[in-house]
Symmetry: C2
Subunit: 191 residues, 2 copies
Amino acid sequence: MPKPNVRDKLLAAAFELIYTKGYNACGVLDITNAAGVPKGSFYNYFKSKEAMALAVLELYRSYLGADLLKDKSKAPIKRLRSLFESYAALHAKWGYERGCMMGNFGAELSSQSGAIRKALKKYFDEFCNTIATVVQEAQDKDELSPNGDANQIARFLVNSWEGAIIRAKIVRTSAPFNDFFAMTFDSALKI
Amino acid sequence: MPKPNVRDKLLAAAFELIYTKGYNACGVLDITNAAGVPKGSFYNYFKSKEAMALAVLELYRSYLGADLLKDKSKAPIKRLRSLFESYAALHAKWGYERGCMMGNFGAELSSQSGAIRKALKKYFDEFCNTIATVVQEAQDKDELSPNGDANQIARFLVNSWEGAIIRAKIVRTSAPFNDFFAMTFDSALKI
């Protein structure tokens, strides 16, 4: 019987390696070595490297936690800004080296794995819907012009943020995030 | 003596393979096979796979050709829009599968190769400067408010576009590009 803690070890090792190096840059052996388990045991827990990547991605999705958006004591746009600022702080902590796993997978694996592309589509859609709800709330409270399509604003924010993250991986400074805030929250999406 | 046409064959094969599969998903053998040359010959032309990736990236950079921006018979913002529309048309032609090589490399290789990261920084900076010149021209001609920082607008446009490209790789439709145009050229950056 597979022991649950071995799967947890494998998942944690895979998460760290894939997030820092990319999917194709690390093999199953790197992951089992990092987890301190025999290579053969990998397939007791994951039917393939792709299946493991899907589990890693699901874990990443769970970390995006948009709990900051639920704090109704703050105005909607302020909550949205806080969420993106919390991500920016994480990237700064990581020296801007990691990027967003969803964006990394999108760039590296969209054409390589239909299952990963489908999961990415679902997670991005869910995340954009969460953002859109708060954009809509901001419109209802006259924080934002009611003319814009809340879903489109949300998608644009998320996509622009993903682009800023990649640029931050390249320049290794917060400049792309500063540009993002200046051109969205500080101007079109005035707070 | 290395024959120049072998290098050209290798470069063309590497460009196609790396652009469609990603850097780490294809090896030197895949490239020499696709080019129809012996594996050993690779190192007569490139000192490493990384050196080859830099040559591929330089070639990609030369294809970004912003010639559309030079057509002074068109208003500046119209020229800018035409450039992004021409990119969108290419992505549609490719079924949205390829993405932008600079964005792909940024996501996959920024933490893996200092030389590639440095080249990406340079190429993105150059590209943003080219865009900024036209944004500045639009401001000078009162097409755009003079209040915005032309360089920041340019960087934001380019980063947001990169994010839209990755999302398009995932959803395989033009929707992320439509969102981009709606939220930039059609609103904040009114034409």
